[in-house]
């Protein structure tokens, strides 16, 4: 029983972190219909930056997100303006390939500059845990989860309570209508992309503590996050949260009762099973079939 509770608690903690990582991806997809394959590479890039800052200055990796988040916001803005905006009107498959190429460029640059070795930031509390009842709460997981939830709450607040957020949501639902009331599609798109990228600032910092990583890790991450987005329904923020929780649980439960090696596979099996019964994902809206 304790073992089960332990696994569920861990699964929820991991799910929360996954949700944060997937939120930017689903936001970008929802607003501009672009699947940012480079999202995983952004995470690994920031994990690398965080690791480097931690090693050089000893700054706590999760606190370092105060620096990395604005960094990624600016980075996202620049990347969108210089690169992504060029394929705004091309078929969506082109943006997939473009961001895939960009992911490889980031991977290649990291390979050359940081080397092809596993890294992991290990702050002082790295291996400590809180104990509540019979359950242990690893500090790193807990802090990561709390940071993720805080950022998701801010993101939710920005999207629902501010003019900027309403503009982004308006552009998501009806770009031409939004343009008519003064919400420019391109400015909103750049903003949404920048916000989506900024979430990887925190996400990547958490990643650097929780998981060992190396430049090519971004493939694992992007397929995992895309799985969450597909499961939850593409473009849906609540969907990403639910999808991330389900997959976090599935992963830890398999790791506890099955084997660690198969836990990633269970991840993909769950996605396929859900798609079998709900082709549009859990929260995905069925598109108007006649839309050209």
């Amino acid at each position: 029983m304790t073992q089960l509770t332990q696994a569920i608690v861990l699964g929820l903690l991991i799910g929360g972190v996954y949700a944060l990582m997937a939120s930017g991806l689903t936001l970008i997809f929802g607003v501009m219909n672009i699947i940012n394959i480079a999202h995983g590479a952004f995470l690994v890039l920031i994990a690398m930056v965080t690791w480097w800052m931690w090693r050089e200055t000893g700054i706590d990796p999760i606190v370092a997100s105060v620096v990395t988040t604005p960094l990624m916001f600016a980075f996202g803005w620049v990347v969108y303006t210089l690169v992504i905006s060029r394929v705004r009107n091309a078929p969506p498959s082109m943006s997939v390939l473009l961001t895939f190429g960009f992911a490889m460029v980031i991977e290649g640059v990291l390979n050359v500059t940081a080397g092809n070795k596993f890294k992991s930031a290990a702050p002082s509390y790295f291996e400590e845990s809180f104990r509540v009842g019979g359950i242990s709460l690893p500090k790193a997981q807990l802090f990561g989860f709390l940071a993720a939830m805080a950022v998701l709450a801010v993101l939710y607040f920005v999207l629902t309570r501010t003019w900027t957020g309403r503009a982004i949501r308006a552009a998501t639902q009806n770009p031409s209508g939004a343009a008519l009331v003064g919400v420019g599609a391109s400015g909103t798109a750049a903003l949404a992309f920048a916000i989506g990228a900024a979430t990887t600032g925190v996400g990547g910092s958490i990643l650097s503590v929780l998981y060992p990583f190396f430049p090519a890790s971004h493939y694992d991450w992007i397929s995992r996050l895309l799985g969450i987005v597909v499961l939850g329904g593409m473009g849906s923020l609540p969907g990403a949260l639910v999808g991330a929780t389900i997959l976090g649980l599935a992963e830890t439960l398999t790791a506890t009762y099955g084997s660690l090696a198969w836990s990633t596979l269970v991840f993909y099996l769950v996605i396929m099973a859900v798609l079998l019964f709900r082709p549009h994902g859990l929260f995905g809206a069925r598109l108007r079939e006649d839309a050209p």
Binding site: F100, G108, A216
Partner: protein, 632 residues
């Protein structure tokens, strides 16, 4: 475009082979002779051999991602599946990989069908995501299913049975033959109705479904067809390598080279993927020699992918072709409507070729005119708070030209979408020809005999007029799917139908280059290919000039005389009054009046609907102006 060039031009008495095929043939000959001329150079042979392997993969990838437009970024999974099939069979049962290669192809195909059946039922982006996830999943399985795959240790295969003196020359020829077979397979597919359907899916999937293309089946079959050659190649490749392991066999970089090769060469063309494969392979080899191994290659391929997407999105071959065509302009006939009008005038009388209306004629013979063909009972559709269609009833009888009029936003087009399956009704029933159809997929409704045109034409603009007309699938049979689209019975029928609308001489022009009115006629011919019993026309006269309109109404009348039933939405009230009987008036999502033109013209409710409640003409009398005039 290559595939269009491969069609024999009907102009000119000489059957001439397009230049591009001759170039391909010359390259093939050179490659066949190369090991004979230069047998003691294993290095260039090895480079070419890997080029062949990539060409097979890129050509196969092109079927799902080029023709059908569904990009896969996990296609090297099939190479790994083929390799592991051969490896496992060789280790367990001592089967030579060359013999087990077809099994590798079958395994890849089965997996593709399984994955495709799950993710290709919907439109959109889930597919591309799942392809990369499945590639990684395959890698995980290969690492962990140690009993079957020996895990990370990998599998060592037997050495080739031929002597060392032959080096890799047998592999060279095996892979070269596979390139030829794969390209031939791809060329054949593209020239069938199946191939036309795939391109239709790429250009407008919703429209493709409405002309009877079972988009789900087409996409799954295309995915499977693109997996088979790669599976076979994977088995042979394993034999060539003599050692396989999970990371090498299910490599993402492999997938990227496939994508890059096809994209750089020209996605959707026949030879583009092959050309791209050689270019990518040479660049990759150069990077190996002069650069620093794998990590430099990741950077290089990433940059190359970005550059190709941003600056060469169409690929080398189409770019070179359009450059060549600019340098050597061909005589393109001046496109206007004159030809269409003359062609029609030249045709004698209303003797319609039988295939055009066979099903409709049969239906009207069997049951006689006047029978209820389409019945909508209490259909509703809401978009948020707006009730576009609100408990509407509508009856269309066999043999009529029923008109549907009503102000903008009264729900006419939405009703069309509910009938043809573009949207699903929230409530109500729709019956067609004695069957309830409101839960059927759009293409099934097409197979039953429902055809429609669109307010703004939705032709596949990059396809030729001929291909547009040949693409529809009148039934669900596999035989129809693989029927030739360029030659053969179906192509013949398409030409006859183009003759009916008087556009046969534009058969080989891209549909996008026709005038709007001509496009409307092509769309009608396209619908006729479905052998419909009922045709729904959405504003056929909108944006069409008067002389073209004459052609259009002439065709409608002739078809109707031959037994075809029509339901027409139209704002040109005089035209409707002249052409249609009965006429149904729609307002606020439901019919408010129905009757022959004479009655509708006088109906005060119709005036209200069009001009608002406050607007009142003088009490309708013989002296009052005809309503139709006021509405225009």
């Amino acid at each position: 475009m290559t595939e269009r060039e491969s069609a024999p031009k009907s102009t000119g008495p000489l059957r001439r082979i397009p230049r591009i095929h001759l170039i391909a043939l010359a390259c093939l000959l050179a490659l066949l002779l190369y090991p004979v001329i230069n047998p003691w150079e294993p290095y260039p042979q090895g480079v070419l051999l890997l080029g062949f392997l990539l060409a097979v993969q890129a050509s196969a990838w092109n079927i799902i991602s080029g023709y059908a437009g569904y990009v896969s970024i996990g296609h090297s999974m099939f190479l790994g599946l083929g390799a592991y099939t051969a490896g496992i069979m060789a280790v367990r049962w001592d089967v030579n990989p060359l013999l087990s290669a077809p099994v590798g192809g079958v395994v890849a195909t089965v997996i593709a069908v399984a994955i495709g059946s799950v993710v290709l039922r919907t439109r959109g982006h889930a597919f591309v995501i799942i392809t990369i996830a499945m590639l990684l999943a395959a890698q995980i399985i290969a690492v962990n299913a140690r009993g079957l795959t020996l895990g990370s240790d990998g599998i060592t295969l037997p050495l080739p049975f031929w002597g060392r003196d032959y080096q890799n020359i047998p592999f060279y020829y095996i892979f070269l033959v596979m390139v030829v077979l794969t390209v031939a397979f791809s060329a054949w597919l593209r020239r069938t109705k199946f191939g036309a359907g795939l391109v239709a899916i790429r250009e407008d999937e919703g429209k493709a479904a409405s002309i009877g293309v079972n988009t789900t089946r087409f996409k799954i079959v295309a995915y499977a067809a693109s997996a088979f050659p790669i599976g076979v190649a994977g088995s042979v490749y394993a034999y060539y390598l003599t050692f396989i392991n999970p990371v090498g066999s299910f490599a993402i970089l492999g997938s990227v080279t496939i994508v890059l090769a096809c994209l750089a060469g020209g996605r959707g063309t026949l030879y583009g993927p092959v050309l791209g494969a050689f270019v990518v392979n040479l660049v990759s080899e150069a990077a190996n020699v002069y650069g620093g191994g794998d990590s430099a290659r990741v950077l290089l391929f990433g940059l190359a992918l970005m550059v190709v997407v941003l600056f060469l999105p169409r690929g080398l071959l189409p770019t070179v072709e359009s450059w060549w065509r600019r340098r050597h302009p061909a005589d393109v006939e001046f496109i206007d409507q004159k030809g269409a009008l003359e062609a029609r005038a030249a045709r004698s009388g209303p003797d319609l070729p039988s295939p055009a209306v066979s099903r409709a004629a049969r239906a009207s013979d069997e049951a006689g005119a006047g029978r209820v063909l389409l019945e909508v009972r209490g259909a509703s559709k809401r978009f948020g708070g707006l009730r576009a269609v609100d408990g509407a009833d509508l009856t269309v009888r066999q043999g009529t030209i029923t008109g549907l009029i009503g102000p903008n936003g009264s729900g006419k087009t939405t009703l069309f979408n509910l009938v043809t399956g573009g949207m699903t009704a929230d409530a109500g029933e729709i019956w067609f020809d004695g069957r309830r159809i409101d839960r059927l997929r759009p293409w099934v409704r097409g197979h039953l005999g429902l055809g429609r045109t669109y307010q703004v034409t939705r032709l596949f603009k990059d396809m030729t007029v001929q291909e547009n007309v040949v693409a529809p699938q009148p039934d669900a049979r596999w035989r129809t799917m693989v029927a030739g689209a360029v030659r053969g019975h179906e192509a013949e029928r398409a030409r006859e139908l183009l003759d009916i609308v008087g556009l046969a001489r534009f058969a080989d022009e891209p549909a996008g280059s026709l005038s709007f009115g001509q496009q409307k006629l092509v769309e009608l011919a396209q619908v006729l290919m479905l052998e419909p019993k009922l045709i729904l026309l959405d504003e056929p006269a909108g944006g069409v000039n008067p002389s073209m309109l004459g052609v259009l109404t002439g065709v409608i009348r002739e078809l109707n005389a031959a037994g075809m039933t029509f339901l027409i939405v139209e704002h040109n009230i005089p035209l409707v009054l002249e052409l249609c009987d009965p006429i149904v008036v729609f307002s606020r999502g439901r019919p408010i009046a129905e009757g022959p033109p004479g009655t509708i013209r006088e109906d005060p409710a119709v005036m209200d609907a069009y001009l608002g409640e406050d607007f009142r003409l003088e009490p309708a009398g013989p002296a009052g102006p005809p309503a139709g005039e006021g509405v225009r």
